[in-house]
């Protein structure tokens, strides 16, 4: 197990170099003037473009530039984001908690509903619940996030006035921004609201989270239903399941204790993929609901050619994805000894 994890960790710097190299090469397509924002921490510095280009060697050979740039990136110095009006590093720490909160809430329905429906569907193959869940799975996978999101917005905000866009209503936002009254412990609003004893803010934040969470969950949940179902079907055919039934175990025990545990292995592999889906999904979801997370910032920056922000956003999402994959691998090895011992 330790060897397995160590081997994975050793690969990380290599991936890091590759990822930064890819982003750096893309940035080289821009002119030195456009790249200058990557090297400043204050927009006033941009007034002296020539000196930035000279001091940071933007006209030097690319290898020299890459090493210089990489050194800044490693120290977390990613430049100035004009769209956010703050440094890129600051922007990430400002916007990421909102995105994290959104994805954490999305994980709950995805995992719970996905595994439950997938199992039910496999156990009752070709029954009504199976047909329903297959329809849900294939329909959910075919519904583009933004079409689904816009329809939800039309019904639940436009018509029913239930769930507004944004992250908080105006008065809740004013309250939260007041450092005297509200202390941001975790910067996850629902958690902070409870820690501060402000239930109304908690409810307000939940109201704003509802639609983005549903939007974000749909596609991933559909995928999970399908994988759980086919994996469960495969497992239910195995001999040891028949043995369990033959020795007189009750059906729920056979399903939940014997079959589902083994059926979960491909599902865990998939969870890394789910993570990718969620990261892609937040860009669209946050843009639709005007939810102030990292995805909306990244999409906005891309539209304005905010080079430093775009590069920072890409690097940060790659970091998240690599860490997500690592977690999935470790989890996988932990659950399935066949992987660990190989």
């Amino acid at each position: 197990m330790t060897v397995f994890i160590a081997r994975r960790l050793l690969l990380l710097p290599l991936v890091g170099i590759g990822v930064t190299l890819l982003i750096f090469s893309l940035l080289q397509l821009l002119s030195p003037e456009q790249r200058a924002a990557l090297y400043v921490t204050d927009p006033r510095q941009l007034l002296a473009l020539d000196s930035i280009i000279r001091t940071h060697g933007l006209d030097k050979p690319v290898t020299v530039q890459y090493v210089q740039w990489l050194w800044r990136v490693v120290r977390g110095d990613l430049g100035w984001s004009e769209t956010a009006k703050m440094t890129v590093a600051r922007a990430i720490t400002t916007f990421f908690p909102a995105t994290l909160e959104l994805t954490l809430y999305a994980f709950v329905p995805i995992i719970a509903l996905g595994i439950w429906l997938g199992t039910k569907s496999a156990v009752h193959k070709d029954k009504i619940i199976d047909h329903f869940s297959r329809l849900f799975a294939i329909g959910g996978q075919s519904f583009p996030t933004f079409v689904w999101g816009l329809l939800l917005l039309m019904v639940f905000y436009g018509a029913l006035r239930l769930f507004p866009p944004g992250r908080l209503s105006l008065e809740a936002n004013l309250y939260v921004l007041d450092p005297e009254m509200f202390r941001p412990y975790t910067r996850l609003l629902t958690v902070d609201a409870l820690l501060n004893g402000q239930v109304w803010i908690f409810l307000d934040a939940l109201r704003h989270l509802a639609l983005p969470v549903i939007t974000l969950s749909l596609v991933s949940c559909a995928t999970l239903v399908r994988v759980t179902r086919s994996s469960m079907l495969e497992t239910l055919r195995q001999d040891y399941v028949r043995t369990a039934r033959a020795k007189g175990l009750e059906e729920p025990k056979v399903i939940n204790k014997h079959a589902r545990k083994n059926a979960m292995i491909p599902v865990i592999t998939l969870s890394a993929l789910l993570f990718v889906g969620l990261l892609n999904g937040v860009v669209i979801t946050e843009t639709i609901y005007n939810y102030p997370g990292i995805g909306r910032w990244g999409a906005g920056a891309a539209l304005q050619l905010d080079a430093a922000a775009v590069a920072g956003f890409a690097l940060f999402s790659a970091l998240l994805l690599v860490l997500g994959n690592l977690t999935a691998d470790v989890l996988y090895a932990w659950i399935d000894p066949r992987i660990r011992l190989r």
Partner: protein, 313 residues
């Protein structure tokens, strides 16, 4: 092994036999969902081919892909005679956009998938066949591309290259190929150990011939399945980029573009939330059915080509 025996081994493993086609036909006949997928896609192909008949461009138009203006109204206008699906803001005809958008969708899907598959086959093929150091280097490069969430990398590439449909195609191909490379490499690693490859080598075939004639045809099926599923998802990704404002220019017949024109009107007006429903429902439906069609078709392909999975999904 004699030449004759080697030929025989090769013949036995030829992938497309009559029985595969027979099961294919049988499968489509038996599974109504697969048949539905086929019908949807054929429908879209017909719409795309017949676009000039279904929605004739104006006589003096320079580019039939640019949607014609129906007047100068800044608000969307409800469906009415002459404009069966209504018009968007800036008075673009939605029906026209959807019909010509089918062409755009096929163009995006086919070009991106073709480019991704081509690069994926070359890289994955070389890595899987030669193994060793070449494999190691190529697969680490693939890992680097896969370290980014696809849509985010595409957003970054389009942002840097500049928003346009062509750059969307480039970005999506850049994001798409690593998946194919990894998939093909895995297949080839197992195929190249099989007897018929050894037989071909014993007969004196060179590497290129072995790869093209023996290894590739036997490892290409998963690629076919994934690429048919990808036809839908690539078009959705392109539409998402258009929706974010990074794709086709305003007024271009592209479903994502039309949907993005509906964004300002989504909560309706004057107390009626559904006042502008047609601006999102029609182009949205086109996109959903297009993806659904390819998903169903991809599933059918998988069932036909991979007997292990038959009946499990």
């Amino acid at each position: 092994m004699s030449v004759l025996a080697a030929r025989k081994v090769a013949a036995q493993t030829l992938p497309v036999t009559l029985s595969t086609w027979q099961t294919a036909v049988l499968r489509f006949r038996r599974n109504p969902l697969s048949l539905m997928g086929l019908i949807i896609i054929v429908g879209f192909i017909l719409v795309a081919l017949l676009a000039p008949v279904l929605a004739p461009p104006l006589a003096n138009t320079r580019d039939p892909y640019m949607m014609p203006h129906a007047g100068y109204s800044p608000d969307p206008q409800a469906p009415r005679p002459g404009h069966p699906f209504g018009t968007t803001e800036q008075a673009f005809d939605i029906y026209y956009g959807i019909v010509w958008g089918a062409r755009t969708a096929f163009r995006i899907g086919l070009m991106v998938v073709a480019m991704s598959v081509a690069i994926g086959i070359v890289v994955g093929g070389i890595a899987g066949f030669y193994r060793g150091k070449v494999d190691e280097v190529l697969m680490r490069i693939v890992d680097i591309f896969l370290a980014f969430p696809g849509l985010i990398l595409a957003v970054v590439v389009v942002a840097i290259l500049g928003p346009s449909l062509q750059n969307v195609l480039i970005a999506l191909a850049l994001v798409g190929w690593p998946g194919y490379a990894r998939l093909l490499r895995g297949e080839i690693l197992s195929v190249r150990e099989r007897d018929f490859v050894e037989a071909a080598r014993a007969m004196g075939a060179n590497d290129l011939k072995i790869i093209l004639r023996h290894v590739l045809p036997n490892s290409i099926y998963p690629i076919l399945v994934v690429s048919s599923l990808d036809m839908g998802s690539v078009v959705v990704a392109a539409a998402a980029l258009s929706f974010l404002g990074l794709g086709a220019p305003v007024g271009y017949a592209d479903w994502g573009q039309i949907i993005s024109l509906s964004r300002n009107w989504i909560i309706g007006s004057g107390g009626n939330a559904f006042a502008f429903w047609y601006t999102v429902v029609f182009p949205g439906a086109a996109l959903v059915f297009f993806t659904l069609g390819w998903n169903l078709l991809g599933d059918a392909f998988r069932d036909i080509l991979d007997p292990r999975l038959r009946g499990s999904t």
